[in-house]
């Protein structure tokens, strides 16, 4: 991921300011998000992560979906100072562009284990075929990794497919599941609990802890779905 200079159409004016909130006594959530996900904001968040990870009082950084979590040593820096430094870096981060890879992911939609496809279709007022067509045609970009090892939070899902998360999360969703949660889509990399809706499945491996590079996806990568089948 090389910074290649400001992106065309990047935020020429000052970016939206960061809203800060505690995530416990030693972490701060920074949130510039608006009502819709913005690629330009996400680019800036990746730059913010790159420029804060090596600060002496920073323990870890977690880019999220148009937001940013900073873990810090509370005995080395106050919240006020941290907010000041982060705000400074945020305003100074021109929207550098990450040139990521494109991954082609074959997917089988519906069938056993993908029982939420009819529910999503009904919620969205679409046929199952329409849901599949719109989902597979989406231009997915990896915004962040999270939820479990190697899980890519993807932007670019067709907004017609947005479905609120389940009221009660499932305790077990299989690795390889293709899911929808709110306005986002994701590929489950490890069998784990999830509150998202399962609509399809892929055999691609997104996480190997013993590999040189344990995660397949990196923020800035693109994902293109190849529809293998639609099962009922």
């Amino acid at each position: 991921m090389q910074a290649a200079g400001p992106a065309p159409g990047a935020l020429a004016h000052a970016p939206p300011s960061l809203r800060f909130a505690w995530m416990g006594e030693a972490a701060l959530l920074c949130d510039p998000s608006g009502s819709h996900l913005s690629d330009a904001i996400q680019q800036r968040i990746w730059t913010l992560a790159d420029r804060t990870i090596d600060l002496p009082f920073v323990r870890d950084v977690v880019p999220g979906m148009n937001n940013f979590l900073v873990l810090f040593d509370p005995f080395l820096v106050t919240r006020e100072e941290l907010e000041r430094r982060l705000g400074e870096i945020w305003r100074g981060s021109g929207a550098a562009v990450r040139a990521g890879k494109t991954h082609e992911i074959p997917v089988v939609y519906g069938g056993r284990g993908c029982e939420d496809l009819p529910f999503v279709a009904e919620q969205c007022g679409l046929s199952i075929e329409d849901v599949v067509r719109r989902h597979a045609a989406s231009d997915f970009m990896v915004y962040a990794l999270g939820a479990h090892p190697g899980f890519g939070y993807l932007s670019g899902m067709d907004p017609r497919l947005a479905t609120p998360r389940r009221a009660v999360p499932r305790t077990r969703v299989e690795a390889g599941s293709i899911t929808i949660g709110g306005s986002q889509s994701g590929f489950v990399a490890c069998t784990s609990p999830s509150g998202w809706h399962i609509i399809g499945h892929t055999c691609v491996c997104f996480f190997d802890p013993h590999a040189q590079s344990p995660t397949l996806l990196t923020p800035g990568d693109h994902v293109r779905i190849i529809v293998e089948d639609i099962l009922s």
Partner: protein
């Protein structure tokens, strides 16, 4: 060598967990009661990140195939060595051939077995903790089972424990020394720092959050503790974008029943966040058994840091006293 004769699905190798990998979706994992775990290593003079065994729900039975220094911490296990009862929070020297039986604790959820030098399994991504979801780390990424054989790093060393007493020595359990939060009739007190969506709670819900005796649900596990009580109202609730989250975060799904993410927490989540359990209290929450009650209290960062300082002071003082004992002296 240490031979595992009996184990259960919640008994795993843990240390203090993985750091610096949250942005790859790789969570911290590690011991659920970090203070009890740390005390085991302190008792044996181990490095703080030496790996041990976390025991819950089912008994752990091991046979030591060589003289091995060991320590048991976390709760009232009624552990026995060759049938002889051991006090809780105790360190001793097992002789070759002796069998240790560690039932799950009666009063809390997790107990810890530390051994001299720590358990020798490969580090994966910087830690020996078991990541059950990713199926890596610890013992092949899974709970221990009968038939497993473990090595410890300190196998060739005498630990010095027998120089103090042939029966070993112990510590007074931490709650007696740390004067902070305690139980009252509503339940175990757990302090939280208010988080981003706390303001979305109705005033009545904010009162209810801190005055309800939340019951730990049976489905609770290392990933999260579900809490049962009257649903909390969050008027104007809306879908939010996923963000990084940490162990201790108290989330509120639309059911209105809070869920607290624990050691095996997701690294990102999209449910509204009411608060985060302070570091000093997360182990206390972890040790609340299913069916028992928990009560929240919203505190400031300053109060949270004070609690952490108090715990660090306690552990440092204990470390000095233990060092004296192991050197053959009598603690002041």
């Amino acid at each position: 060598m240490i031979a595992v004769l009996a184990s259960g699905p919640l008994t795993t190798i843990q240390d203090l967990g993985r750091r610096g990998l949250l942005r790859s979706g790789i969570g911290r994992t590690g011991a659920m009661d970090r203070r009890a775990f740390a005390l085991g290593n302190l008792l044996l003079g181990n490095a703080p990140d030496a790996a041990g065994i976390e025991v819950a729900v089912a008994p752990l039975v091991v046979r030591f195939e060589a003289d091995t220094a060991f320590a048991i911490t976390g709760g009232d296990c009624r552990a026995t060595l060759d049938g002889h009862p051991l006090p809780p929070w105790w360190a001793g020297l097992a002789r070759e051939g002796q069998e240790l039986v560690m039932p799950p604790p009666r009063d809390v959820v997790f107990a810890y077995l530390a051994v001299g030098g720590g358990i020798d399994v490969p580090q994966v991504l910087g830690s020996r903790s078991t990541d059950l979801r990713g199926r890596f780390g610890g013992y092949d990424g899974r709970p221990l089972a009968a038939g497993d054989r473990l090595r410890n790093f300190g196998a060739d060393q005498k630990s010095g424990i027998e120089s103090f007493s042939p029966l070993g020595f112990g510590v007074v359990p931490p709650p007696a020394f740390l004067p902070d939060a305690a139980e009252d009739e509503t339940g175990t007190l757990v302090r939280i720092v208010a988080a981003a969506e706390y303001p979305w709670l109705s005033p009545e819900a904010r009162m209810a959050l801190e005055h309800t005796g939340w019951i730990v649900a049976r489905e609770s596990n290392r990933v999260g503790y579900r809490l049962d009580g009257n649903a909390l109202a969050m008027p104007g609730r809306r879908e939010i974008f996923s963000s990084g989250i940490l162990p201790g975060v108290v989330q509120l799904p639309s059911s209105g029943q809070p869920v607290v993410q624990m050691s095996d927490a997701n690294t990102c989540g999209g449910y509204p966040k009411l608060g985060v359990v302070i570091a000093a209290d997360l182990g206390r929450l972890a040790q609340v058994q299913a069916g028992q009650a928990v009560r929240f209290r919203v505190v400031t960062q300053a109060e949270a840091l004070e609690a952490t300082r108090a715990e660090q002071t306690y552990l440092a003082k204990l470390a000095r006293q233990i060092a004296k004992i192991r050197a053959g002296g009598v603690p002041q």
